[in-house]
Symmetry: C3
Subunit: 454 residues, 3 copies
């Protein structure tokens, strides 16, 4: 027994060592990335500070007791729900990768915190009055929406970029996103209360294009790209929070009774979508079992698909119908479309095309139909004209996403940013100090409690 | 033992295989469940869609700018708290089972999404005006409450049913629940603002009865029915969210200053309950250690026990007293009552009798006492009469729960639904595609990072 | 390799046994703690009940339909955010310890639930009118703030005390905290809307002093004091919820447009802090990798550092600047200051000095500067006088924290409370029944699904 136990802790070490030697290059052969991320982030943060000094002020009412503007009591609760979706929702949803949990929730936080500032500035420049960007709860909400789009793109390249490349991608994506949103909402007066086109479709196809540009065959056959039992449960934390708070996402910026409808419609669409997702997932397994990937992702498609029409008079059954189609579409996407795209070298780590892309297109089409059926505020436009502009906004969004993604992909390939080595794909050890690093060579005294506990 | 154990875990892979061969029937011998769940869910979802087309519309103010009705600003924040309790709270609380985490949080989502629609319809039919069911935030809240009851019942049969049986149970439970609530609130005018009787007592005893009907001796001695270190921590996510948001559950539908009291009383009752739970849990262990099962569950009993009287003038110390009794009652339930019930073939996986059943009965009794003490709105009734109706509502609830559970249990035993094989109890592999299934026979290159990390 | 790997997983079983025998004293040799925690908690809970009966009533408007007072609609959403920070935020942030997850989230709940009642009473005695403590949503918020301070202190001694010592610490800390807050806010009229001085600085240095008094050399070289892959992800749940809801913490009690600014400033400070934390963390690693400890903690320093000035006219760029300094300060704290303090026998398990202590001092200084710049409400005071009182409040807070911590540390060393044995440090098995305890000697049939899943 004594000897046995003496032997014991030695063994994990072998695992580690072999791990280290076979799967990750030794320290000597690994590229030393020190300094690059630090420099990039400090430069950008300094830039943001300077631009804030120059341009950004409190908007009313925060700026003056007398001022009038969007009130906290009205917007803040929904703002916080959206905030949770960005940081917990997207962050944990992506932790399904068994070896990339740190990168998923950690870099999610970095990218989001970066975008909250950068999007505030870029949107501000487009909408500023007399050279001042007025900050209020609505501009904060819009910045969170912009972060959502970038995080969707992150999902497509998850595990395949360095943090440096990620930050550069976020920096480049925002201008395209902001311009596209401006064209769609200001120029075309297209309706998209939940950002299904301007956030989800844009983020998904921007990200897919970047993933295509950065394509590496070895990514497709990495044994590290997968989940384990615990990582799937961590991922469900994100999934469930996205599911619950999605009504806030689709209604936060809606006005009057439209806000009310946005809550009801999203709640109903998601419910139907979840039920249908289980039905379809079970149908695709030869033993009729359910697939956790579908539950984590396809159940959310109903929130995306109803986003454009959420505040319209589509009636409760219209919301259910959209949810039913979305759940089917998204599950089929994971089982049929994603493998097909992979063969075309569109390697989509999180399947954003299935959760955000196709359901977003469905939302866009629903918006066109709803316009034709006069279910929305038309102002002085005819239904047909509104429908045309809805369609135009959808196509322009796809176009700018593809264009922006291509340009970004080209820039991300510049050697200056560096890239992951093949063994570093989907592996936190490339970017994170791992627990136990400091005492690699001592026996680890504790793991058995974990096994013990099992 | 030595050799056995030495051999046993040898190589995860072998483990898997042996696992598969010894603990779960091979694919060939396993019943092919393909199609059944899919058909059932699609039929129900189609039915819901049809009934929504025919009967459900937006209630005011969502339906019309001019309309008046419950406002979003007033109800939505508490509604979202309740929503989180349903999907994160109940979902993760049940993940304590080391091999049933997917089923806990996954099927929790399926059942809840199913019930949100079904309960909206069934309640709607009882309360509809001129053949129209008006949807508003209050009806959405009531649907979430109904989901809570079904999920409590799910807790009693957790790990012992197929998803098909679960959906059938949910479908059958709702009519009984809605009728009971109608008798209690409309006919008896009984007060139960937090649904301690109509949700917790009903859900617990309905579920226990179903569990009794489906009793299988092998369930009691399954080595799979237990927690491990990580599953206990996942379960705490659900427990803590239930604990924090319970004040919203008990006050969301309260009016005027009663709503305020419901928040304060629930907050106080839960605080006292948590403290007492640690005291009692430690008292029951021979080394004075604390039991995680008690912390996850008994700490919540204070929320249930104060539910009926939450909005009454029971005074802060009254809330503390109820919480103290609830924590004691629930801990004793887990240590003494549950093993006893198990011998009577009431196998209660989550111990819902301890968290929802007995504390719910306590809440009902507290309601009777509070009525006699004139601590509530009596209208034109005498205190004695109100007390009688409170008592009647409690007994009717128990009666309908037992009746409904019995009928449901009988129906669930019909061969058409299928059932789990003995080896499939408390085991996700019966219903879920597992990570690694696709590459069962290759060595897994990664576990050592996990061990490494430990 | 074959044989090697064959041998490896065999060990966990033995591991369990050896674990038990070598790392924790056998049941016989272990001190039997039964009764002590139970008695202590029941006595205190009984005391609380008695004092509530005597003194505590519903404040308006909860007490009377006619009454006027803080409304639920205005305060409740932010109150719930703060509530989540206390129970999920602090609770899960501390689960980073691989063997102390139960104690982190479990005792966090116990301490918080205890303090919610005790702080309500102690604050009430200071502010009561005609012998009655009026409970309302604002007093509940203040109780949650007090809980935050005690939980910060808990972070400094995490894993090094028995639950009995913890409860005694909480009981003793509250009077000091309440008196300090009273001196600062009532006597000095010092401004500290986010409690950076009265909660964070106080809690951090009170806890550090207690940790110093209880110092044990063996704690510093325990191999159990560390994270593993899953515990780090659990910790991120707490970290992200603290990060998201911090704007509510800093603005919940602010009034008028100051509340609005508090939300905006905290949101911005945290964003800049997160970006800078990643930059600094990467700079400190020889390979430029990021450290999860910094991401979990230093990203939050921006919320602390802006707490005192959150509702002032510091302008958005001022908030960014504070966040940038805070992120740098906190990361340097973890990498440079903490090891230094450890040599002085200040063993700070969670690094509360880096997250709460130094950023809190920064907040205090920012408050002085903001006063001098007339960025706050000065009433009839001159800027210089206000600045002096801000400074005085900061120093008094440090003084009372050190004094209170010293006294508490002395009392906690009394043999009557008992203490952990060396092998019990940072180890849940000292205080918690572990899953699998009941079937120690049978082979565990299930772990392989976990490994399988990996």
């Amino acid at each position: 027994m004594a000897t046995r136990t003496d032997v014991r802790p030695a063994v994990p070490m072998l695992g580690v060592v072999s791990e280290r030697s076979t799967l990750l290059p030794g320290r000597e052969s690994r590229p030393n990335r020190r300094g690059k991320l630090t420099a990039l982030l400090l430069v950008f943060q300094g830039l943001f500070l300077g631009l804030f000094v120059e341009f950004v002020r409190y908007g009313p009412p925060a700026g003056s007791p007398a001022g009038s503007g969007p009130t906290i009591d009205h917007y803040y609760p929904m703002f916080q729900d959206v905030h949770v979706m960005i940081f917990v929702g997207f962050g944990f949803l992506m932790t399904f990768l068994k070896l990339y949990g740190y990168g998923s929730v950690g870099f999610n936080m970095l990218v989001a915190a970066f975008v909250l500032q950068w999007a505030t500035l870029m949107r501000g420049f487009l909408y500023m009055e007399d050279n001042t960007i007025n900050l209020d709860i609505k501009s904060m909400l819009s910045a969170d929406f912009a972060a959502a789009a970038v995080l969707i793109s992150y999902g497509a390249v998850l595990g395949k970029t360095t943090p440096v490349q990620l930050v550069v991608m976020a920096f480049l994506e925002i201008p395209f996103l902001v311009v596209n949103e401006w064209i769609g909402t200001v120029q075309f007066q297209a309706l998209d209360i939940g950002g299904s086109m301007f956030v989800h479709v844009f983020g998904a196809y921007f990200g897919l294009t970047v993933a295509r540009m950065l394509y590496r065959p070895e990514a497709s056959d990495s044994t590290k790209e997968g989940a384990n039992y615990n990582s799937d449960l961590f991922s469900m934390i994100g999934s469930v929070f996205l599911w619950m708070y999605w009504p806030s996402f689709n209604s936060a910026l809606a006005v009057g009774d439209g806000r009310y409808r946005a809550v009801i419609n999203t709640y109903l669409s998601l419910s139907a979508c979840a039920v249908v997702t289980f039905a379809m997932s079970s149908a695709f397994d030869k033993d009729g079992r359910v697939n956790m990937v579908h539950v984590q992702n396809a159940t959310l498609a109903g929130g995306v698909a109803v986003g454009t029409t959420a505040d319209m008079m589509i009636q409760p059954w219209g919301a259910l119908l959209i949810g039913i189609i979305a759940g089917t579409l998204s599950t089929v996407g994971f089982t049929v479309v994603q493998p097909f795209l992979a063969r075309l070298k569109f390697h989509d780590t999180c399947g954003v095309n299935n959760l955000h892309g196709m359901p977003g297109l469905l939302a866009g089409v629903a918006g066109v139909v709803a316009s034709l059926l006069k279910l929305c505020e038309l102002g002085d436009r005819s239904a047909a004209v509104q429908a045309e502009f809805q369609m135009a906004a959808l196509f322009v969004t796809i176009g700018i996403a593809l264009l922006g993604g291509t340009i970004t992909g080209i820039i991300l390939q510049l050697p200056v940013w560096g890239k992951l080595q093949s063994e570093e794909l989907f592996d936190d050890r490339a970017n994170w100090e791992m627990p136990g690093d400091e005492d690699d060579c001592e026996p680890q005294p504790t793991p058995s409690i974990i096994t013990d506990a099992e």
